[in-house]
Symmetry: C2
Subunit: 189 residues, 2 copies
DNA sequence: CTGAGATATTGCCATAGAGCAACATTTTTC
DNA sequence: GAAAAATGTTGCTCTATGGCAATATCTCAG
């Protein structure tokens, strides 16, 4: 089992080596180059991913072609297109590698099987859902509660990786502004 | 047990009458008038609520005094201030009754006890988290992806109760616009 | 019922951020 | 390592929405 996934579990819950190796047996390792697509709008999401190196970007494109990035999963984080995974409907999101990325993937049915059979995964899934919810919630609060400069400062302080590792284009789409505006804001940092 | 809560469970999962009555024994009924506060910013949320009549509004107030409503729980819906409930931190949200409201409340520790001990509640909680996440997600997509008129039309179509039962002030804070703008938009409906 | 307070509407002006275009810089590719 | 492509910057202008103020309408307590 990948050490980084093991650490993820052990940091959060007590679980035996036997259970851990059962769990890990359902994950399969994959590698991606920069800017490859793991999921496109209109496809159904069938995997849960755990990033071991690099990062994944989860974003959607509206009718005017504006991109909106909702989440960046860096190494050591789970990520999936929840809405599509859960409902089985077509995804409105794209999942894209932004860097050379390696990850562990588990199929949807295997994942939900583990949620039922392995208490550790039940708890972890709850954890993931809870924190996905909290993150998203804070994001809405943030999006509506502050102007763009405040949001940029917040990002810089709380998620420096996003600021330091990603392109302006991606950062702007994460903050919900245009790259033009981001460029102008940086003068006032 | 309240029929409406029973229906909620039975609609989603197979569960025996015995388990249902064990579950319901942890809920206590409360009544509120119009515009009462169940939780204020800075307090820690200790309950999960299930609305049996009326409705609850979940909202936050930013530093400029702008209100942002994230969710309205009408009768037959669960609602709580997840972020505070889960983390035990002070809430950034207010919970307020917008109409004469009756509800069933369960204490946080009893709730998580049931999540562990009653498989039905484990599944229901997962359900609630999943759909809270999906709703929130669609909301972000919506907030960033469409202009205010489109959002208003979406609301009218998808959540007519919000439009029909609540004040302009609340609707505006739900759409992330000012009551002035909402007033102006209604001309173009 | 009545009247005070809350809520909603609308004219007017202000402003944050969008978007184009031109140019500069960085990154990728062969 | 040079050319091409992508990304970033900045001047200028435009637009959607904000916000005040005056007025109109609703609503709820006595």
């Amino acid at each position: 089992m990948h050490q980084i996934l093991k650490t993820y579990f052990l940091d959060k819950i007590k679980v035996s080596d036997d259970n851990l190796s059962n769990i890990s047996s359902f994950f399969k390792e994959y590698s991606f180059g920069k800017n490859e697509f793991l999921l496109k709008e209109g496809e159904v999401c069938k995997y849960v991913y755990f990033v071991t190196a690099g990062c994944l970007r989860f974003y959607s494109v509206n009718t005017d072609g504006i991109e909106n990035t909702r989440y960046i999963a860096f190494e050591g984080k789970f990520g999936t297109s929840f809405t599509s995974l859960i409902t089985g409907e077509e995804s409105i999101e794209y999942i894209q590698s932004l860097e050379k990325t390696t990850l562990l993937a588990i199929r949807k049915d295997d994942f939900y099987h583990l949620v039922e059979k392995e208490p550790a995964v039940n708890v972890i899934y709850r954890n993931i859902l809870e924190s996905a919810y909290i993150t998203t919630q804070k994001r809405i609060y943030d999006l509506q509660g502050s102007d763009s400069l405040e949001r940029l400062r917040w990002l810089l302080k709380r998620q420096p990786d996003v600021f330091n590792r990603l392109s302006n284009k991606v950062i702007a789409s994460y903050l919900g502004i245009t790259p033009y505006t981001l460029s102008r804001l940086k003068i006032n940092l």
